[in-house]
């Protein structure tokens, strides 16, 4: 007699026929149909789903995915100058080790007791970011930097009770799109295009603020173009004189060398922590932060979770919990109208590990290297005939703008670069067909940059 192998899916232990029968019997029925008695026949799908045949074996699944990904290329195997909101920084192996631990990767929403480690790691992330940002309050991450900007601006709207938002820097078009739609019922976004040199148009900002209806001046540090605007501190002054808040979107990786927005007057800093040890993952690795000082009026407007450090009943033991800011008498929380949900917590833990590894010196050094590489790349590319680097005298961080003055469009240049095994810069269709945004980080070498310049020389 041959034994019949149990027909159980590896992920579904109780699909073993005998187990299934026994469990049905235990609840007093002989068919799962009884559990679906409330679903009317008219709503039942009276056929199997029309899906591809399953790949039940792990080996078969691995082979299928390999077939799909075969031929795909990445920045690991190809020299890339793409940035524009998603940055190719080195991800330390220790970060991967920690975020791939089952205990962190598969946990969800336990209490601070069974999930103490998650709470401590997240509180430490808040604290490490706070040191970087010179702030006292940093949230548990939201989805991404776009969401963080939308929320920061809504917070400013609630604090000031005003309607209008001024976008004064070069901002990623998709971010502007998202933020505009997100704040739509409460706020309108007035976009003030930067001057030709890329800096915010302070006169235009002043004129708009005069109306007295501006909730926030919203700047980027650096701008989408990579520009570090010398006018950032002036904007703080203008905003505050007009009773508006100053909201600054920043790349946290810059803050070992660039001043944190709080130091030049930002009331709310926000941004994306992807640069801090999160893999690019085809644009899928994001988490957003918000940072303020510990001012009750501002803290009360955070629509996100904030973990706090507390004592326990045992001396010398750290406990954690949620700051219960809804109890404060401040603020019009009922105007909040935002939500809390599953967002991007694990990236926060990873960014914390990243900052702990880097320390103050690592953050300064990476900033210096990126600044130097960016300056060097701008200089090398500016030497290429048919390539112009606008805003050449300004400081750029990682991203910098390039204009192709010859007959070729940026799309065509990129196609030619790709033939040479190089991913060229990000397109800027909103600025015309000849503009692109190139990016270098600490992961590039002098030789990489020289190769780009030399290759461009060969592309008429």
């Amino acid at each position: 007699m041959t034994a019949t192998p149990p027909h159980a899916h590896p992920y579904i232990p109780n699909s073993a026929p005998a187990v299934r029968r026994a469990m049905l019997k235990a609840v007093g029925t002989d068919s799962v149909e009884d559990f679906y008695a409330d679903i009317p026949a008219s709503l039942r799908l009276h056929r199997p789903l029309n899906l591809p045949a399953p790949l039940r074996s792990e080996a078969g699944l691995v082979r299928h995915l390999e077939e799909l990904l075969a031929g795909g290329r990445s920045t690991r195997d190809t020299l890339s100058f793409l940035g524009a909101g998603c940055y190719p920084h080195h991800v330390p192996a220790v970060v991967d080790e920690v975020v791939n631990r089952s205990e962190f990767l598969t946990a969800y929403a336990g209490e601070p007791y069974e999930d103490h480690g998650r709470f401590q790691a997240m509180w430490e992330y808040q604290s490490l970011m706070a040191e970087l940002l010179a702030a006292e309050v940093v949230n548990v991450p939201v989805y991404d930097g776009f969401q963080a900007a939308g929320t920061a601006l809504r917070m400013a709207g609630r604090v000031t009770g005003r309607r209008r938002l001024l976008a004064v820097s070069d901002t990623a078009p998709e971010q502007l799109s998202k933020v505009t739609d997100y704040v739509r019922p409460e706020h309108e976004v007035t976009v003030l295009p930067p001057r030709a040199d890329g800096r915010a148009d302070l006169d235009a900002v002043r004129a708009e603020l005069a109306a007295g209806d501006v909730a926030a001046v919203w700047a980027q540090a650096p701008a989408y173009s990579g520009l570090v605007d010398e006018g950032l501190p002036d904007l703080a002054e203008l905003a505050h004189e007009a009773g508006a808040l100053y909201v600054v979107g920043c790349n946290p990786l810059t803050l070992g060398v660039l001043a944190p927005p709080a130091d030049y007057g930002a009331d709310i800093a926000c941004g994306d922590i992807q640069p801090l040890g999160v893999h690019m993952s085809y644009g899928g690795g994001n988490a957003g932060f918000l940072a303020t000082q510990d001012v009750e009026q501002l803290v009360a407007e955070f629509p996100t979770r904030l973990f706090g450090l507390v004592p326990t009943s045992v001396e010398g033991e750290y406990g954690f919990g949620d700051v219960a800011f809804e109890r404060t008498s401040f603020a019009l929380r009922e105007e909040g109208r935002e939500w809390v949900g599953t967002a991007s917590a694990l990236h926060g833990i990873g960014a914390g590990v990243y900052l702990a590894l880097m320390g103050p010196h690592g953050m300064r050094e990476i900033g210096e290297t990126v600044l130097a590489h960016t300056a060097y790349a701008k200089r090398r590319l500016a030497e290429v005939p048919g390539v112009e680097v606008p805003q050449a005298d300004a400081v750029h961080f990682a991203d910098f703008p390039v204009r192709f003055t010859g007959s070729r469009t940026a799309v065509e240049v990129n196609a030619a670069l790709l033939e040479h095994g190089i991913f060229g810069g990000a397109l800027r269709p909103e600025r015309g067909p000849h503009e692109a945004l190139f990016c270098v980080t600490e992961t590039h070498t002098t030789a990489d940059i020289d190769r780009l310049a030399d290759t461009l020389k060969g592309i008429p």
């Binding site: 799909l68 694990l346 914390g352 702990a356």
Partner: protein, 538 residues
């Protein structure tokens, strides 16, 4: 050789070698490393990683760029980050990881509404592949055909699972997907010139509260339908609520009680007759995969939480992933870009003039899209249905075990089955013993598991929400029920043990009241040092 042997004591017998059987409940103790904060582990001068310095020719060419920054924009004081060697950083975080109870380690049926199912390890291996992890979103489409094909195929799979015509994979998570649906509803009515008139969204008490919250965020007035006596959303309340101001019904089914609303078609019809749209929150879809779909019930939009129903790991609360399905009529409003296929090449289509725009950077939480795709492919149609049926079987089996525990009750619709989860009530146990549901949950932590109560306000008193997905074995479910039975017994016989729990956790009861006052809450080390330790200049 032991001293006893040398001294001629009796040889050990088989009895001496025998290990007694395990007790009924495991003698769990959570890791307790008593770990300091990372800041307290700092030693100046140490470092965790080296950063590439600019090469000499770069330095020679550009000089000290940072020094050229205007003073106001140059960082003065270095950030007060800790300084540790690499292994010290690793050890700190590994200890913290051990002090965390991941779903891989416990019978995680207690986080009802969250669909805690097994996330296959092989799927994690795909997302660590450099062709996924190190791909830049703006690479030429020709270099990422495989990624685009996965997204295109995943959309196709979810179209079939939902019956909808198009699916966007861009939303970052479940609530983000609800937001995306609301944004599409808003855009739809704006295009029809009805935006002003249709200012109201209807939802139900036991739908996920993000439905109401997202609608409010979008500027809608929200009307909630309370449960009727059987726990179903009150259809008479819907009749009173639906009208010319109705933009949409946002509703979950089965709701968070685990009860399937059999009149859902009528709900949809009533709202359609009033001129509104209907969006199906399929956060609780795990029990009905392949059984019933949004399409058949007449919905215009729906969304899935890929991290729930389609098994991507919950990651301490994200990254997650969401998917929005819509009918042809709503398709123009989907977020941009979409993934299209011309028969030869896959590409991203940005030219979508009626789109609500981007709801997050780039195209979605790609690693989780890859995982969800792999999960569905490993199951197929038959497997998805099996997952659903076993999830429901597991739930009704656990229900029968939990019902045996004194002090617990199952509110509403007494004679009806539950789908994939149940909202229980410890009201009776609380009245008898004074022990709260939260306290039972904390005591359960002493046995290596946990549970979640429910959203506020507690419409069901002293609630507990359990959702045993298809991932758990019968023995797992028996163990979980035995733990709750033991805690309930303790509540009746020795309530102090429960009230003062946890006893075998990483830490003891925290003094959370300090989090309620602006004078004492400490969100960061920086704030803690200034406010609590009273350090100057912190």
């Amino acid at each position: 050789m032991s001293d006893a042997r040398r001294q001629g004591a009796a040889e050990p017998t088989r009895e001496d070698a025998r290990v007694a059987p395990k007790p009924a409940l495991r003698r769990f103790h959570q890791a307790r490393w008593d770990e300091k904060l990372i800041f307290e582990l700092s030693t100046p001068g140490q470092r965790g990683i080296e950063v590439p310095a600019p090469e000499p020719e770069v330095a020679a060419a550009v000089g000290d760029v940072a020094a050229a920054l205007p003073d106001a924009l140059r960082r003065g004081t270095p950030p007060a980050l800790p300084e540790l060697g690499q292994q010290q950083v690793l050890r700190h975080y590994l200890r913290l990881s051990q002090e965390n109870l991941g779903a891989d380690l416990n019978v995680d049926v207690g986080q009802g509404t969250c669909t805690m199912k097994y996330s296959p390890k092989v799927n994690d291996s795909f997302v660590r592949d450099p062709r996924v992890a190190e791909a830049h979103p703006l690479q030429d489409a020709s270099t990422v055909q495989g990624l685009l094909e996965i997204m295109y195929r995943l959309e196709g799979l979810l179209r079939e699972v939902s019956g909808m015509d198009r699916v966007s994979l861009q939303p970052a998570a479940g609530s983000s997907a609800i937001w995306t649906n609301v944004a599409m509803i808003r855009a739809y009515f704006a295009a029809r010139g009805e935006a002003e008139q249709r200012d109201t969204v209807i939802t139900s008490s036991f739908s996920h509260p993000s439905n109401a919250a997202c609608a409010k965020t979008a500027g809608y007035r929200v009307i909630t339908l309370p449960p009727d006596a059987d726990g179903y959303p009150d259809i008479e309340a819907l009749r009173a609520a639906a009208g010319p101001r109705t933009a949409a019904l946002l509703i979950t089914n089965p709701e968070d009680t685990g009860i399937y609303n059999p009149r859902i078609e009528e709900f949809v019809r009533l709202v359609h007759e009033a001129g509104g749209l209907c969006a199906y929150d399929q956060a609780n879809a795990n029990g009905i995969l392949g059984i019933t779909r949004a399409r058949e019930a007449g919905f215009d939009l729906c969304h899935f939480n890929l991290h729930k129903t389609f098994s991507t790991p919950h990651a301490c609360g994200g990254p997650a992933a969401g998917a929005c399905g819509v009918t042809e009529e709503l398709a123009p409003y989907l977020p941009r870009p979409t993934v299209e296929f011309d028969g030869e090449r896959y590409r991203l289509e940005h030219d979508r003039p009626d789109s609500v725009g981007s709801v997050r950077p780039f195209y979605g939480v790609v690693p989780n899209l890859v995982r969800a795709y792999a999960w569905i492919m490993s199951l197929g149609a038959e497997g998805l249905r099996e997952a659903a049926e076993v999830a429901v079987l597991n739930n009704n089996y656990l229900l029968s075990r939990i019902r045996e525990i004194p002090g617990v009750s199952v509110p509403y619709a007494q004679s009806r089955p539950r789908v994939e989860q149940v909202r229980y009530s410890w009201e009776r146990l609380h009245a008898d013993t004074g022990v709260h549901s939260e306290e039972i949950g904390l005591r359960a932590a002493d046995f290596g598991t946990h549970y979640w109560t429910s959203h506020h306000p507690y419409t069901v008193p002293e609630p507990m929400t359990l959702e045993p997905t298809e991932s758990y074995s019968r023995a797992d479910l028996d163990e979980y029920a035995a733990i709750l039975a033991e805690v309930a017994r303790e509540a009746y016989e020795d309530p102090d043990v429960v009230r003062t729990a946890p006893h075998r956790s990483t830490v003891h009861r925290a003094r959370e009241d300090t989090l309620e006052s602006a004078a004492t809450w400490a969100v960061t080390w920086r704030a803690y040092r200034r406010k609590v330790l009273g350090e100057d200049g912190a």
